[in-house]
């Protein structure tokens, strides 16, 4: 039984499912193509930055949205950042949720904004879980391949 081949297939299937479900889009492939020997952890590094930055932004958004007089310019600025970074790494559903969020923000619709924040959070934690699993599998595959099992 070829353990490595099985792992490889599982990894490929898992990766594929992320695209099928629209959690990731082609931009993620772009990131993968940028990774090379000079920077073998590039994707992991960028995604880690994305996790850190997104959580910061989500916290900021929560704070701004509970104020009595909501500063919608601030909300827009934060959502714009999150939309940008999710787009840059191919986090498709997060990006879409941000687009909807922007519209409610422009309309200064508080309830809409609050709902959107929930939605963005949900999509963010989903992609975070999926990508963490992705990296774990990738690491397992790499380790198994290197241990010389045929």
């Amino acid at each position: 039984m070829d353990g490595v081949a099985q792992l490889r297939r599982q990894f490929a299937e898992y990766t594929n499912s992320l695209f099928q479900e629209g959690i990731l889009n082609q931009q993620f492939n772009q990131l993968q193509q940028l990774q090379d020997e000079s920077n073998p952890n590039f994707v992991f590094e960028v995604v880690s930055l994305f996790f850190q930055d997104s959580e910061r932004l989500l916290n900021e958004l929560a704070i701004v949205l509970i104020q009595e007089n909501i500063n919608f310019r601030k909300v827009d600025a934060h959502v714009h950042q999150l939309k940008g970074s999710s787009s840059s790494i191919g986090a498709n559903r997060v990006q879409d949720a941000c687009i909807a969020f922007k519209r409610y923000c422009e309309a200064q619709n508080i309830e809409g904004c609050l709902k959107c924040l929930q939605q963005v959070k949900t999509e963010y934690f989903l992609v975070k879980n999926k990508l963490e699993a992705f990296f774990k599998m990738e690491q397992q595959l790499s380790a198994a391949s290197q241990s010389g099992s045929k």
Binding site: L34, S38, N39, G84
Partner: protein
């Protein structure tokens, strides 16, 4: 085909002055940390030396500094349009207004495909306008132009 990367170029030819055999030195400006890392990698993969700046004022500071011998000559500036404080458009204007820096090609990036915005930038002297998210092919196109300058 995805987000439809539109790269718009100005029709005026400009001498993108490059020292022979050197790697182009690109100054990349973006307030988003992920985008900075991405553009840096894209440029490095296209054999460019890269300096990043997180806002317009810092970018200008660096750019002027290179004329005083701090850091090597900048061959191109690539900047995000939407930045708090000084926008990419305002940065473009400042670069084009100064006789010291006006020859430096400036490329604008934006996540929004707004024709009036694009035209405004091209009219102000932007070399090119690129839609985000950036792809390797966008950057290759840019750097090819930069390195193949035939004057």
């Amino acid at each position: 085909m995805g987000s439809g990367c539109a790269a718009h170029s100005s029709s005026s030819s400009s001498k993108w002055v490059m020292e022979n055999g050197d790697e182009p030195h690109v100054l990349a400006v973006d307030d988003n940390i992920i985008d900075r890392k991405l553009v840096e990698k894209l440029l490095k993969n296209s054999s460019c030396k890269v300096t990043t700046a997180e806002n317009g004022p810092r970018a200008l500071e660096f750019l002027y500094g290179t004329f005083n011998g701090t850091g090597s000559k900048v061959n191109m500036v690539i900047t995000d349009y939407c930045m708090p404080g000084m926008t990419g458009y305002e940065l473009l204007k400042k670069i084009k207004e100064s006789s010291a820096t006006k020859e430096v090609p400036v490329v604008i990036m934006s996540s929004e495909n707004i024709p009036t915005r694009i035209n405004k930038c091209l009219e102000e002297g932007a070399q090119m306008f690129i839609l985000k998210p950036l792809k390797q092919s966008d950057v290759k196109k840019l750097t090819c132009q930069l390195m193949n300058c035939k004057g």
